[in-house]
Structures are given as C-alpha cells and as structure tokens.
Symmetry: none
C-alpha cells in the first residue's frame, strides 16, 4: 500500500478499513486482522495501526476483546454510511458548489458534466 503524503497515514488506513467494512470485506461482528498482521500487510509500523484502531474504537466502528482482537461492531456499517452521508451533504456538497461558483461554472454546466460521467445511476 502506498500513501499520499499530505494526510496522516493512520487516517488513510482508517478510511480504507471503513471502506472494507461497508464493502463487506470485514463483515459486521467479525474479527479484523491483528495489529501486527495489518502492519505487515500495509508495510507500516505497528504503532501506526494501533493508532488507527484507537481512532476507530472511539468512533465506535470497532471494539476490542482483550487478548482476542478487534471486532467490527454490529452497527458499524450503518454508522459509517450515516457519517459519510452527513459529511457529504454538510461539507463536501456545499464546498463543491462554492468552488464551482468561484470558477463561474453554471448549474447547467455542472448537470451536463454529471450526465457525462454517469458513474452515478439515473
């Protein structure tokens, strides 16, 4: 795995774990890789993974069973999706519109573009 350099690695990893959770790679209720395993997979210092897991724990995405490992909390997938939704409509979308406005891009131009790359289904 390679990382962008302007975001902290532990947050990039946290994001990728969240995507694995919503994508079903790490199913709700199941154990996720140990700190050392994931560190090896990612080619990263275990401390960094530790930090990621702590972060995800305070976000209530995973929890820890002592001596056993970390597990995806049952409600995690919904929680993640909600979070993303909220972030999208409260931050990303308005910022997107603001930037478009600054550049003098009109609504109809935007809509045309959206239709063009219909990565989003009608």
């Amino acid at each position: 795995m390679d990382f962008e350099n302007n975001k902290s690695i532990y947050l990039q990893i946290a994001e990728s774990i969240r995507e694995r959770v919503v994508g079903g790679v790490y199913p709700a209720g199941e154990k996720i890789p140990s700190v050392r395993e994931l560190a090896a997979e990612m080619g990263v210092n275990p401390n960094t993974i530790m930090r990621t897991y702590t972060e995800l724990q305070t976000m209530e995405i995973i929890d820890n069973k002592r001596g056993i490992g970390y597990f995806v909390k049952p409600e995690a997938p919904q929680l993640i999706m909600e979070g993303k939704r909220k972030n999208f409509f409260e931050k990303i979308f308005p910022e997107f519109i603001r930037q478009a406005g600054l550049l003098g891009i009109t609504a109809s131009q935007l809509k045309t573009r959206i239709d063009q790359l219909h990565q989003v289904k009608k």
Copy 2:
C-alpha cells in the same frame, strides 16, 4: 484575522492573498503590502509572512524587486484561476462523484440539489 487550526497559518495567508489577487484587491503588477505591514495586519510574526511570500514566489504568483517589495506578477490572476480550475476538474469533481456513488446518490438527486441551492446561476 483568525485561522482554522488544521492548516498552517502561512498557507492560509497564501490562499487569502491569492483570493485578493483574483478579486482585484491586489491588482496584477502592483505592489502588495510589505512583510511587516501584512504581519501587523494579520497579527502574526513577520517570519510567517516571509514564508508565505516565499511560497507565492516559487508559485510565480508574486515577484520581488530588491529593496522595494513584492509585486503581483502580471500573469498571476490567470495562473491562479487555471490552477483552481484544474484542481476542480481533476480532483474535486471526480472525488465528489465517487463519494456520491458510494452513497448511492443518483444523478437526478444531485441535479435536484443543485437546483435547490442555486448559488450557481442557471
């Protein structure tokens, strides 16, 4: 002036100067405030402004005349706009679409939303 906490002050100032340039507050070819002046206005250390100016100089936004001060380069406004435009279409827009896709937001939903907040003109 007060600053957000997750971006470095000198970069926030750089951004605000770029906006002043495109907004015509600092017209192309004209002198911008001296390091010390701006430091006073912003309530920061002159070194911080120095860093901002150095940054803007390597970006070819401003230019130095020895012993006189920094000046907006003639091409600066276009250069800034181009940069923003590029960033928008290559980074912000695709990421926006990707996120929308992940959330299962349809194109028509997006378009409706855009019409709602018509901060962007038809």
Copy 3:
C-alpha cells in the same frame, strides 16, 4: 563546518548535500541525516537545515516519508549532474568566453593555459 560569508548558509549546505549525493555519500534512495542530526554536525540551528531540506525538496532532490525522514530521490544524481551541465554550458562557458574576449585573450592563449593546468584530462 565553516561557511563563506557571501552566500547564505542554508544554500551552502544544500550545495554540499548535492555534492554528497553525486559523490555517493548519500546514495540514491537512501535516507539522509535527520534535521537535528545534520544541524548538530554542521553546528547550525535546526531551522536552517529545515530550510535547506525544503529547498532540496522543491528541487526534487530529496523526498520526505512522514515521521521517518528525508530520502534521496532515485533520479537525484542524474538531475543534479544535468543541472550542473546546463549551468556550465549556458552560463559559465559563455560568460567565460565573453570575459576572455573583453580582455583580448586569444583562443590559442586559452588553449595553452588549459594544457598547462591539465586538471582536466586529455
């Protein structure tokens, strides 16, 4: 380390690092000393080294891995040599010839001199 007085310390250090890179002291791809280490070695303030490293980074000579340190970019040695070569043929050489011309020094005189100090191999 002691420095000449008419060039800034941070640039002199940058130059010496470039020479260490082309000389193989800091091999391509390898880590260079940490900011604090080098500051100690050179007897200067860490900020000064920081400035050097920032400069070298914008020149694409070195590269940063978060929390680990700075590394010589793989292409650095060639890049440095190319830069020197370009500088030589576009700046130093013509200026040299111009000065010789002003002094009325003939080509054959120059060639004689070159042979004399055959620091340059035949």
Copy 4:
C-alpha cells in the same frame, strides 16, 4: 535598464559604468553623468547611484569635484583592465576548469568548443 535579481543593483550599475569607461563611452578625465541624471536613465533611486559612485570612488575609478560632479580618473581604464585580468586568471579561469573537471569534460572537448564559438580571435 533591467537588472538580475540576485546581485545588488548598485554593483550591477558599477559594472556597467566600468564597461563604459573601458569602452570609451566615458573617456578618461571626463565628467560622468550626475547622480540624478544617471538615476533617471537607469530608472533607479538616486541613493542607489550614490552608492555606486561611492564604491567606484573607493576603487579609484572616479573622483569627485565638489559642486561640479564626478570624473573618470585618468588611470581608470588601465586599472579596470588590470583588475579584470587578475580576476580572470585568479578566479574565473580556475573555477571554470574546476567545474569542467567535475562534469568530466576533457581538455580536448573544451578546446573544440572554444574553436566553435570563435568569439575569441585566433
């Protein structure tokens, strides 16, 4: 007149005056332009010219007749040429050779180049 930005303007002007002296534009013994005249011609602050003249005065290139102006000293042309000659053989030439050596440029390559741009007469 436009200036390079990494050398002080007053020294660049001093150099251009020296060239005018050896070129006969300002003949030995004659008056040179007043501070204000030259400042106007060069598009520069009179203080800067003042500094240039002071510099040239300490180098014994020009001298000052109070209330009248600055004059080229009779021996100036020879003195300038000597200075250039010395500088050339003690500084420029050895540095030139050193750089060529670092780049692995051989003596014969240099000589070929010199013949090519025979701005220097045979």
